[in-house]
Symmetry: C2
Subunit: 232 residues, 2 copies
Amino acid sequence: MNYKIEFDKFFSYSFSLDCLIFGFENGQIHLLLIKRNMDPHKGEWAIPGDLVYPDEDLDDAGKRILHDLTNLEGIRLHQSQTFGKPKRHPQGRVITCAYFALTKMEEVNAVASSWATEVKWIPLHKVKQLAFDHNEILSSTFEILKIKLSNEPLCFDLLPEKFTLNELQQLYEYAFNSDLNKANFRKKIKHIPFISHDEKQINVKHRPAKLFSFDQKRYKDLLARQEYSFKM
Amino acid sequence: MNYKIEFDKFFSYSFSLDCLIFGFENGQIHLLLIKRNMDPHKGEWAIPGDLVYPDEDLDDAGKRILHDLTNLEGIRLHQSQTFGKPKRHPQGRVITCAYFALTKMEEVNAVASSWATEVKWIPLHKVKQLAFDHNEILSSTFEILKIKLSNEPLCFDLLPEKFTLNELQQLYEYAFNSDLNKANFRKKIKHIPFISHDEKQINVKHRPAKLFSFDQKRYKDLLARQEYSFKM
DNA sequence: AATAAGGTTGTATGAATTACAAGATTGAAT
DNA sequence: ATTCAATCTTGTAATTCATACAACCTTATT
């Protein structure tokens, strides 16, 4: 069933989902944006999104949009906020629910779909004017993301399976726009019972950094027994 | 313009807003519920809500629903989450956005509208089976409320203008289901620069408690200058 | 004068945060 | 072999904060 053909039928009052896809590289948090292929706002950069099909679960719509763009599966999606100003879409009433996903950039194979001529990772601090109210959606969503990064171990979704402590520190420094003391940061991390040291980097120019990994199972176990509360 | 008449037209894919109205009395957080006057779930208790009109802003719809039920105006509304399972409403696809409002119970003059035969404040721990997926909406929303109570001075929206420290302590004890030490709690509050002591209770049976109030202006001032961060 | 509830003071402990200094390790470049 | 650059570690000192708990004072009613 091709719902897009029925576009006009429910477009006077329709519901869409925008998916903010974050990644981390070179000490910078990036956002995956598309260049729109169609009016309105043709040629402008935008957060990828689509209408939600009439019988489609919201979470499923999020997964579909994420998969279409990145070819990723099994990624956790987090609901951000719903935006419903009557005039936010020039062609009619479109209420949109924003979701966000945290991805490992090297695993993302982004492909431009029919909606877009281009897909690009853009560091957050370089994101300029976006289509629709997407700048507002981004800033609200990033605030929510920061709260979650402070209270849940979501940072590991943005990092490779094996990461260095410098990478982890840079991630928090970028997100909260503040410099952290290296020695103190490491002491703090060493107290976290589900971050373990595995191997070393290879093929690097200098002393190889230790590689760490996040033991999700151990974290869930401690969480269930209320023996640890993640705070950064 | 009577949108309700057009109900069928967009009911196959419509958007509603549910409004969770919280209050605080006798050491207990209460929720304002209605007894439904119409099918589906006629006769069951439910969170008050309504369809969002096609040209109505989401925030305005929240204000309208809150005002219809409580006669209150100028209350801050907070967006909670959006619920969109395809089968959550038996008569069609209804995506609903939950908002919540924190009210001073003594200022609420709740009236049953055409939607409801009854309106009642129910302490949170006594809320039983609700219509639709409203139990899920309540539990998700209460989790979000707790996070906000920990990080923003929203507690004062639930308390009278002048409140005692015992009331404030009971509010947090009820919300987080934990007993707090009185002496330590008071020491903590005394360090907060925008909670000031004004008067004393009168006409009480025992020693009158000191009455405190929240200086919102001072809080906003400190917040703007990043000189204080509220944590409870 | 007794009672009940409100309210205060103090102390001891341990945990967590912050700031800063200094040095050890590893691999590449010369 | 030496130097360099980046990684990583150790230690210390001051400070703040949270937690637990005991003891006691104050104000009103009865």
